[in-house]
């Protein structure tokens, strides 16, 4: 009684599994069913999401041991989903934590820092973290082909990490993705496919592709291993603050996994005695044109209502976020809140971050910064707060939204008098100058 035209399954081709790394077994977050390590993200019993199951009796390093290790995300390897030493992507992670006193003053908090994944190695976004773990899982499972559904940053990361590992890559993106993200993927020579539809359409297609072709799609069937890489952002924040937790964090939300994993990361370090039990209030940020998780937090309850995205923050434009429920839970459990900001506010947020910290973030970073301003205005940030903003991508990837908002640079003749005229004009203007960003 089947319609065979729809069944395009192909036999899975795999190399001999890698020898250096054994991925952890999996457990269903919905029903608790346990499974052997496998490139599978959903429970055979209830279709619930799977996560790696760590051995609670495993030996954990102390602060001094971690501090002596190489500056990459693998310095926290006991909290990553493998037994053994990962061999691929050894140098992602451990991005700078930059103190931002001018931004702290603007937000009215005691201290502020920027966790700057805009300079992540090698593709300038936090997706390097999750791909580093996913690609080691792919190698361990002997998968010859990796891929992803992406809004851009993940496409860049999968293409780059796969190129370095010598794996074939199939990458699916919305057809109208920003040029910088298309070129920043194509340069690594993957099979890049532009899909006529939104990211949510791409996601649906990739769920079927992973199911039919047996490839390792990092955010589909390797999702259980992929997501764990995000925890390292929390680990690094704790270590770089001198083994302290901040009192508040603001992070962008697309699928909701980062907020979920930040919460888990802070909790795991507290459980290991490496940080205090006082978890930071986790605040989530979305663009108003795609804010299903913000609206879930505001509304309460347990059912997320998907949206059709319309925002310049393309990397956050996921209307049907897979981890939306768990992200909302992480926010409310920690006493945080969620903020949605308009497209003009996003641009202002990019400029405020740049003007106060010297860090140029992509639109997602503008969302995070503008959300922090909104949260401060609403009294949800406190004068004694030690705040960390999670900046997840580089501004050079999303230049278009800035094109009409920045002043055009003057063109002069190559003469000193022309410079003098500019200085004179600038000095006159400075008397009434107000910073262009959010007040």
């Amino acid at each position: 009684m089947s319609a065979p035209a729809l069944d395009i399954s192909r036999p899975v081709t795999r190399s001999a599994p890698g020898e250096r790394v054994s991925p952890l077994p999996l457990i269903c977050t919905n029903c608790g069913a346990r499974f052997d390590p496998d490139p599978a993200a959903i429970c055979l019993s209830c279709l619930g999401p799977l996560v790696p199951e760590y051995d609670s009796a495993r030996s954990l390093p102390d602060r001094a041991t971690i501090s002596r290790r190489a500056p990459s995300l693998w310095r926290y390897r006991e909290w990553l989903p493998f037994v053994g030493t990962p061999s691929l992507s050894p140098d992602s992670g451990f991005t700078p934590l930059v103190e931002a006193p001018a931004l702290a003053r603007r937000l009215g908090v005691a201290r502020a820092w920027v966790k700057n994944d805009a300079v992540s190695h090698p593709t300038l976004s936090f997706k390097d973290r999750v791909v580093a773990t996913a690609i080691n899982a792919a190698r361990a499972f002997g998968l010859d082909v990796v891929g992803c559904a992406s809004t851009g940053n993940l496409a860049n990361a999968v293409a780059a990490h796969a190129a370095r590992a010598g794996l074939e890559a199939w990458i699916f993106v919305p057809f109208d993705l920003e040029l910088a993200k298309v070129l920043g993927t194509s340069v690594y020579a993957p099979n890049l496919v532009r899909v006529r539809g939104t990211y949510d359409d791409v996601n649906r297609l990739c769920a079927q592709v992973a199911d039919s072709f047996g490839w390792g799609l990092v955010n589909v069937n390797l999702r259980a291993y992929y997501g764990e890489g995000s925890k390292t952002m929390a680990f690094e924040i704790v270590e770089q603050l001198g083994w302290r937790t901040p009192t508040a964090v603001v992070a962008p939300m697309a699928g909701g996994a980062l907020v979920t994993k930040l919460h888990r990361g802070f909790r795991e370090f507290a459980e290991a005695g490496l940080a205090s039990d006082d978890l930071p209030r986790i605040h989530g940020a979305q663009a108003a044109g795609c804010a299903p998780i913000v609206r879930l937090v505001e509304r309460g309850g347990g059912r997320l209502v998907p949206e059709v995205p319309s925002t310049i923050a393309r990397s956050l434009a996921i209307g049907n976020p897979a981890d939306g429920l768990t992200a909302a839970r992480a926010i409310t459990e920690t006493g945080g809140w969620a903020a949605a900001v308009s497209d003009p506010e996003i641009v202002d947020g990019i400029r405020l971050l740049a003007e106060t910290t010297g860090i140029f973030a992509e639109t997602a970073g503008g969302v995070t910064t503008a959300a922090a301003v909104q949260l401060a205005r609403e009294g949800r940030l406190r004068p004694d707060d030690e705040l960390v903003l999670c900046i997840t991508g580089n501004g050079l990837k999303t230049l278009d939204p800035l094109a009409d908002s920045l002043p055009e640079a003057p063109v002069i003749t190559p003469h000193l008098r022309a410079v003098a005229a500019l200085v004179e004009r600038r000095d006159g203007a400075a008397i009434s100058h107000q910073p262009s960003a959010i007040n």
Binding site: L47, L154, D211, N219, V220, I318, A322
Partner: protein, 91 residues
Amino acid sequence: MPVTIALPSVLSRLADGNRAVPATGETVGEAVADLTRRFPSLSTRLVDDAGEPYPFVTYYLNDEDIRFAGGFGARVRDGDELTIVSAVAGG
């Protein structure tokens, strides 16, 4: 109204190995009910205790998420394709 329900591989084993199964009904919910009548072990995988889809499972009627089209109450037409996929992480 005969429609075709496309199942992910983890569910196809509970439908005699079929990845695509014909079903009848006037709405998505009726088509799913017809499917689970014939393959009862699919029932708890497709519908929660309240008779609604699980939050981590998405139903697409042709190319549209049924949550934009009335959920299980969305009407189906001859030849429609109902695709069931699990949630996918962000990208």
